[in-house]
Amino acid sequence: MFEGINPLNTLAFRDEIRGAMKKQKQRYNYSAYLYIAPILIGIMVFYLYAFFQNIWLSFNDVGIFGNRKFIGFGNYRTLFHDILFWRALKNTAFYAILGVPSIVILSIGLAWMLNQKIPAQSFFRTAIFIPAITLPAAIGLLWRWLYNSSFGLINHILGWFGIQPIFWLSDIHWVRWSILIVLIWASMSYMVIILLSGLQRIPSVYYDAAQVDGANTRQIFFRVTLPLLTPTIFFVSVVSMIGTFQIFDLIFLIIRPDSAAYQYANSLVTFFFQQAFALDLRGYGAAISVVSLILIFAVTAIQFRVQKRWVNYD
């Protein structure tokens, strides 16, 4: 807006314009708030109020029907001595450390392939996008049957190669891997679509220039495509990191909560749900959610800080 103003204009004139804009701003402010009031009130009640109330609840011993007693950092003290909490934290870190890079790398690969001129391109694009529009409940039930040790397809196929049945969902060493595989599979499709659009935004002049200079496919991918895709890759890694930290439905639906293996697959969110709603420890649950909020916040902040070193905004 200011770009159209002649730089030779006097300071006084500029001040006049600013003053007029300020006045206009003030005049319209109130009715603007009214326009957004319905959604704003909704956000304040259902998000902001709930957010702060949750923090407050984490300092209380909360009964099921709303009766509460202030106990300071009691819930947090219990939390740091709770072996189940540490196990959930360890599992969540496992999903994040192995899951996020796998999701990002595999999605880049798939997106890159889908961006090439391959036969039946739209079929593959649709097939890869299907998990993103499938209900998590359906994904959970589907994999529960695929993984079933006695009747599942996976063990059946492994059997052809003489491999003994693997207890995917009940062996305490395997459950985390089972969940990780589904997590990667289910999260990838959405990321592929985002990366694909990122790939298509790269101007073809860069490719043309690289080709004129005699670069081969590998060089083009690593020197041109990847650097120009970094803003999208950054977005995808932030989103999948947050998503991984919040993993709930897959675990809840695939592994039976009363199974002995459940705590070896438990994430922070399933642990929170179990404590807050199955065991009625609402205050304790609030403390768990506050801790995971701080963790997600910290990890995301680190990601934003580190991105300056590797993300190219041309």
Partner: protein, 429 residues
């Protein structure tokens, strides 16, 4: 100016929209009083709807009942959220959780209604009346009762030439039969067939065995944990032994596929199972082929008694129509309604005068066994604060899975539960 005024009016009406609309939908002037019933079971719902329809017809001008069904997985969470509010359903299904709601003051003590009507509580089975008593007050009218028993696959017994279980059998008799089946399976190289299976949750399995050995889960006054005692440890050990000897399906298998499903697929000789599955047994392919036999559980150290749970009907303390709710509760647990449920095989009634109809509802299984099991039963031990007993439940799951040393795990968990129980009772007194 005009447009700003318009903005204000429009915004306010959007914000206040729900408040403006709600009275129109809820008030139906002059009609019968509307009350709601909360339940979770879609199998039972159509049969209960029949009774509700009759009730609504009989009270055409005064009361109208609507069923409000929520799936089991969400039922209790929703109940927790609604009971303390004016949106509470007037009447709700209740189970062992009664203590939690009674202690929270969100369900209505029924004593004054019982007294003013001189309502005869003797018509219900005493154990079920007691199960809904918290302190000295009655909090629900009993609906039905359940029992655990053993179902066996006659075809498997016949295939391996193993004699069928006989009345008054013992745990050792069961092991002998299982060993004979195992021998047959091994010879026939049937690796996915198991002599015994069970469900892993407490009610149809280990909680019975703990009491049958005299160990118990909680003491009778519900103040002491008994799982960490030598007797308790021995009970859980005996189940792990069964799995180790391959007489029972391994933990991993049972935790991925429910014992009942393995049995119904024809891959198990025997299953410990609850009466709530009776209709499933009756309608199964196995049942239709007359291949399912029923027998009471085998006798362990002390006896073969079954743990009994069962549903009841409770009233919300916040209900605005308590008199109407009480009238409905009397009807829905009455002779006519409960006989209908029994005839349809959805419930073994908690009232003696309707129990006779139950066995008549079954053609493929011998429901008399269920009746007998229900008669020699003890109440499900619950203190209504799940967090206090959860360490023991978790420890038993870990112990059964064979991944931890049994004795120390159970002892540590029992001690942890005991500390939580002590704290709970210390606050209460």
């Amino acid at each position: 100016m005009k447009s700003r005024l318009l903005t204000i009016v429009v915004s306010l009406s959007i914000i206040g929209g729900s408040a403006v609309l709600s009275p129109i939908t809820s008030a139906r002037a002059g009609g019968p009083t509307e009350i709601t019933l909360a339940l979770w079971d879609e199998v039972q719902k159509p049969i209960i709807q029949q009774a509700v329809d009759v009730f609504n017809k009989n009270h055409r001008t005064t009361i109208h009942v609507t069923i409000n069904s929520t799936p089991w997985s969400d039922f209790w969470t929703k109940l927790d959220a609604t009971l303390p509010t004016s949106k509470a359903t007037d009447v709700t299904w209740m189970n062992v959780n009664v203590r939690k709601y009674a202690t929270g003051g969100v369900i209505e003590p029924l004593d004054k209604y019982i007294a003013s009507d001189a309502y005869n509580m003797q018509q219900y089975v005493p154990g079920r009346v007691a199960a809904f008593k918290v302190g000295t007050s009655q909090y629900a009218l009993p609906k039905g009762m359940d029992a655990v028993f053993v179902a066996y696959n006659k075809a498997i017994f016949a295939k391996y030439g193993v004699p069928l279980p006989k009345k008054n059998w013992t745990w050792n008799d069961m092991k002998t039969a299982a060993a004979a089946i195992l021998a047959g399976e091994t010879a026939a190289k049937k690796t996915t067939e198991y002599p015994i299976v069970m469900e892993l949750d407490a009610q149809p399995s280990w909680i019975n065995f703990l009491y049958q050995d005299g160990a118990g889960f909680l003491s009778a006054d519900r103040k002491t944990t008994n799982v960490g005692t030598p007797a308790g440890i021995a009970t859980i050990q005996s189940l792990v032994d069964l799995m180790n000897a391959k007489l029972m399906a391994p933990y991993n298998v049972l935790s991925e596929t429910k014992g009942t499903d393995i049995f119904l697929s024809g891959n198990a000789g025997m299953v410990f199972i609850g009466s709530w599955k009776a209709a499933v047994l009756e309608k199964s392919t196995l049942g239709a082929a007359k291949n399912i036999g029923l027998i009471q559980m085998p006798k362990r150290g002390l006896n073969n008694e079954s743990v009994a749970g069962g549903l009841g009907y409770a009233m919300a303390a916040k209900s605005a129509h308590k008199a109407e709710a009480w009238t409905f509760m009397k009807y829905i647990t009455g002779h006519q309604s409960m006989t209908n449920e029994a005839l349809n095989g959805i419930e073994f009634p908690a009232r003696a005068d309707s129990q006779g109809a139950y066995a008549k509802g079954f053609a493929n299984i011998d429901a008399k066994v269920i009746v007998a099991a229900a008669k020699s039963s003890f109440a499900y031990p619950s203190i209504g604060i799940p967090a206090t007993t959860q360490p023991m439940v978790d420890a038993i799951a870990q112990a059964l899975s064979g991944t931890v040393p049994i004795a120390t795990t159970l002892q540590a968990a029992a001690a942890k539960s005991q500390a939580l129980l002590d704290a709970f009772y210390a606050v209460k007194s």
